[in-house]
C-alpha cells in the first residue's frame, strides 16, 4: 500500500469508526497537503457510505452515525479552502425544519450526508420562517429544497413552504422527510420526493434527478393528489 492510499484508508476508517478527532489529526498531517482534494473527499464519502450501510442494517444506531457525519464535516472543513469554488456544476440545496419544528437532528444528519455526496448545502436548523426558505433558495439559485417535520403540528407550516416554492420556484425539486410522514403523504402535499432517513437518501436524490421538468403543478383537493402537467 502506498503512503497516499494508506492515508485515504485511514480517513475512511476514522469516519466509519465515528471518530472526528482522528479525522482532524489525519488532515493536519503534512502528507495530506500533497493529496488531491477530490481523492480526500472520496475517502470521506466512502467511509460515510459504509457507515450508512451499517445504519441501514441496524448494526449501528443514529447516535453513532451522527459522529460519522461529524467526522465527515471535520474533514470537509479542512478541505474547504482547497476545493474549487462552486462553478455552477455543483448542485445547491437549501435544507431546514418546518416552521415551529424543534427536532433538528435529522436535518443536520441529512445535510452532512448531502455535503459528503458533493452538494453545496445551506442548512436552516432552527425554526425558520417560510420567507427565509424562499429567499435562501433564490439567493443560492438552489435546485433542491429539503424540509423535515417530526411533529404533526408542524405539517401545516411544511405545506405552506411547499405551496410557496411550487408557485414561485417551480424548477426547484422538493424533498421532504420526518417521522410523521410517508411517501404517499409527501406526494399528496405536493413534494417531489420523500427521504425516510439518511439510509435511503442517495436513492431519493437519484429519483429527484430523474424527474423531468413540467409546465404546471397543482393540488386536486377532491382526489387528494398532486397533479403534474408536462
Amino acid at each position: 500500500m502506498t503512503a497516499s492510499s494508506a492515508i485515504l484508508n485511514d480517513i475512511e476508517k476514522a469516519v466509519l469508526s465515528q471518530d472526528p478527532d482522528s479525522v482532524d489529526a489525519i488532515f493536519q498531517e503534512a502528507a495530506v497537503a500533497d493529496l488531491d482534494a477530490d481523492l480526500l473527499l472520496g475517502a470521506l464519502t466512502k467511509g460515510l457510505d459504509e457507515a450508512r450501510k451499517q445504519l441501514g442494517d441496524m448494526t449501528t444506531s443514529v447516535g453513532d452515525f451522527l459522529l460519522s457525519v461529524d467526522a465527515v464535516r471535520c474533514g470537509l472543513s479542512h478541505l474547504k479552502e482547497r476545493m474549487v469554488p462552486n462553478d455552477g456544476k455543483q448542485k445547491r440545496a437549501v435544507l431546514g425544519v418546518a416552521p415551529g419544528e424543534v427536532h433538528n437532528l435529522g436535518i443536520y444528519i441529512i445535510s452532512g450526508v448531502m455535503e459528503a455526496l458533493g452538494y453545496d448545502v445551506i442548512c436552516l436548523e432552527q425554526d425558520t420562517d417560510t420567507d427565509v426558505f424562499i429567499n435562501e433558495l433564490k439567493r443560492m439559485d438552489a435546485s433542491i429544497l429539503g424540509v423535515s417535520s417530526m411533529m404533526t403540528t408542524t405539517l401545516a407550516g411544511m405545506q405552506d413552504i411547499i405551496v410557496r416554492c411550487n408557485r414561485e420556484l417551480p424548477d426547484v425539486k422538493i424533498l421532504v422527510g420526518g417521522a410523521c410522514m410517508d411517501e404517499k403523504m409527501a406526494t399528496s402535499m405536493g413534494a417531489d420526493g420523500f427521504a425516510e432517513s439518511a439510509v435511503d437518501l442517495p436513492g431519493s436524490l437519484d429519483k429527484l434527478d430523474s424527474q423531468g421538468t413540467y409546465k404546471r403543478r397543482y393540488m386536486d383537493y377532491d382526489k387528494k393528489v398532486q397533479v403534474t402537467e408536462y
Partner: protein
C-alpha cells in the same frame, strides 16, 4: 436493618391498606395490590364472561394483560392534546392547568371512547421543573427553548440535583390530574400516569445533537445527572400511584435504533429505569413503556424493566414482521400499538380501520394486545380517525 420477612409483611400491610382505601373511596383497587394468583383467576373469569357479555374497561384490560382473550380488543386512541378542542381550551392551558386538562382528557373518553387514558401531556413536564425554559405556543404542544438549553456545557450535568416534588409546578400538576382522574365518577376508564425516563429529560435540557455526543464522550457526567433525576422521579411515580391510578407508563425514547446504541442505552439508563419500575410495581401499579422510536430495543427494555406492556410505533430492532414480533414477545408483554401516524394523518377512516383490522388479525390472538396509534393522536387533526380506531376495535375483534 429489617430482614426480608419484615419487608414482605410491611409491603403486604401497605397493599392491604391501599385496597381498603380504594374500596372506601369506591374505586377499583390497584391490580398489583392483589396476589398474582388471584389476578390470574380474575382474568380467566373475565375472559369466560366476555364470551357472553360485555366487559368493563378494567376487566377488558386485565384480561388482555394476563394474555387471555377479552370480549373485544381493548383500544386506547391516545386522543390527548386533541381533546382540548372538545372542551375549548388552548395549548398553553392544556399544559399548565391540571383541572382543565383533566376535564379535556375525560371529555376525550366520553366523546371518542377508549379503555384507558395515558397521561402523556407534552415533552417538557419534568425538564421544566428541573429548570429548563419552556415555550408554550398557541398552535402546538409545549417544548423546551433549544436556543436556551439548561445544559450548555458538559459540566452543567454535574450541577443537576434532585428536587423536592412539593416545590415543583408541572410534575405536581400531573399528580393533581391523577387525583382528579382516578375518581371513577370523573373518569369512567382506568388511568395510566406518565413519566419521562431520565435520559429523555436530559435530552430536553441539552438538545438532541449535543446530547447524543455527550452520551458517547461523557457517559459519567450523563450518568450522574441521571442518578439525581431518578431520585426525584421515584418520589414522582410514588405520588402518582398513591392517587389510586392503575398503571404508570415510562417513556424511554432513547432505547431505539434511531437514538442510542443498545449497549450505551443499557449502560446509561437501564439500571435507572429498572429502579423506577420497581418503585411503580411496589406501589401497586402496572408498568408500561412508551417508545415511539424506530427499531425499539424490546429485549434490552424487558431485561431492565420487565414491563407489563409496551406501546410502540415501529417494529422492534430484532423483528422484521408483526407476526415475528407476536411470536417472539407476545407471551412476555402486552403489545400496545401500532397504527401508523401517516395513516392517521393522511388516511381516510376506512384506511385507518383497514390497518387496525390487519393488526388485530395478527396480534390479538390469545390476548396481550391493545389497539392504539403508534404515538399520541395528532393534536391538530380532526377526531374522525380516533373514532375509526374505536370502531375498528368494536367491529373486528
Amino acid at each position: 436493618m429489617p430482614d426480608a420477612t419484615t419487608n414482605y409483611e410491611k409491603e403486604s400491610g401497605m397493599k392491604i391498606k391501599k385496597i381498603l382505601k380504594s374500596v372506601k373511596e369506591k374505586k377499583v383497587p390497584q391490580i398489583r395490590c392483589f396476589p398474582e394468583g388471584m389476578v390470574g383467576a380474575a382474568a380467566a373469569a373475565s375472559s369466560f364472561r366476555g364470551k357472553f357479555s360485555k366487559l368493563t374497561p378494567i376487566e377488558r384490560l386485565l384480561t388482555t394483560f394476563k394474555h387471555k382473550e377479552p370480549d373485544r380488543v381493548p383500544v386506547v386512541p391516545l386522543a390527548n392534546a386533541v381533546a382540548r378542542r372538545i372542551t375549548g381550551i388552548s395549548f398553553p392551558e392544556y399544559s399548565t392547568n391540571p383541572e382543565k386538562t383533566a376535564e379535556a382528557l375525560c371529555a376525550s373518553v366520553n366523546f371518542v371512547g377508549g379503555d384507558l387514558v395515558v397521561m402523556m401531556i407534552d415533552l417538557s413536564v419534568e425538564a421544566a421543573d428541573f429548570g429548563q425554559e419552556v415555550i408554550y405556543p398557541l398552535n402546538s404542544t409545549a417544548h423546551p427553548n433549544y436556543l436556551n438549553p439548561f445544559i450548555k456545557d458538559v459540566d452543567d450535568y454535574l450541577k443537576i440535583k434532585p428536587i423536592d416534588l412539593s416545590t415543583t409546578t408541572r410534575m405536581k400538576g400531573i399528580v393533581r390530574m391523577c387525583e382528579i382522574m382516578s375518581d371513577p365518577k370523573t373518569c369512567p376508564v382506568p388511568v395510566s400516569g406518565f413519566v419521562y425516563g431520565p435520559l429523555e429529560i436530559l435530552m430536553m435540557m441539552r438538545g438532541a445533537k449535543d446530547f447524543y455526543k455527550d452520551c458517547r464522550n461523557y457517559p459519567d457526567h450523563v450518568k450522574k445527572a441521571c442518578a439525581a433525576i431518578t431520585e426525584t422521579l421515584l418520589a414522582y411515580v410514588k405520588a402518582q400511584s398513591d392517587t389510586g391510578i392503575h398503571a404508570i407508563t415510562i417513556d424511554t425514547l432513547l432505547a431505539s435504533w434511531n437514538a442510542l446504541p443498545k449497549k450505551v442505552w443499557s449502560d446509561l439508563e437501564g439500571d435507572f429505569t429498572g429502579e423506577i419500575t420497581r418503585c411503580v410495581k411496589d406501589n401497586g401499579c402496572l408498568v408500561g413503556i412508551h417508545n415511539c422510536g424506530d427499531g425499539v430495543y424490546f429485549d434490552a427494555q424487558i431485561k431492565a424493566m420487565a414491563p407489563d406492556f409496551i406501546s410502540f410505533a415501529q417494529l422492534p430492532d430484532d423483528c422484521s414482521t408483526p407476526r415475528e414480533m407476536k411470536e417472539k414477545y407476545g407471551d412476555q408483554i402486552t403489545l400496545v400499538g401500532y397504527v401508523h401516524t401517516p395513516t392517521i394523518v393522511n388516511g381516510t377512516p376506512q384506511q385507518v380501520m383497514d390497518e387496525a383490522r390487519e393488526q388485530i388479525d395478527i396480534l390479538a390472538r390469545d390476548g396481550g394486545f391493545v389497539l392504539a396509534p403508534g404515538c399520541e393522536y395528532p393534536p391538530n387533526l380532526s377526531l374522525e380517525n380516533a373514532f375509526a380506531l374505536v370502531k375498528a376495535a368494536e367491529l373486528y375483534s
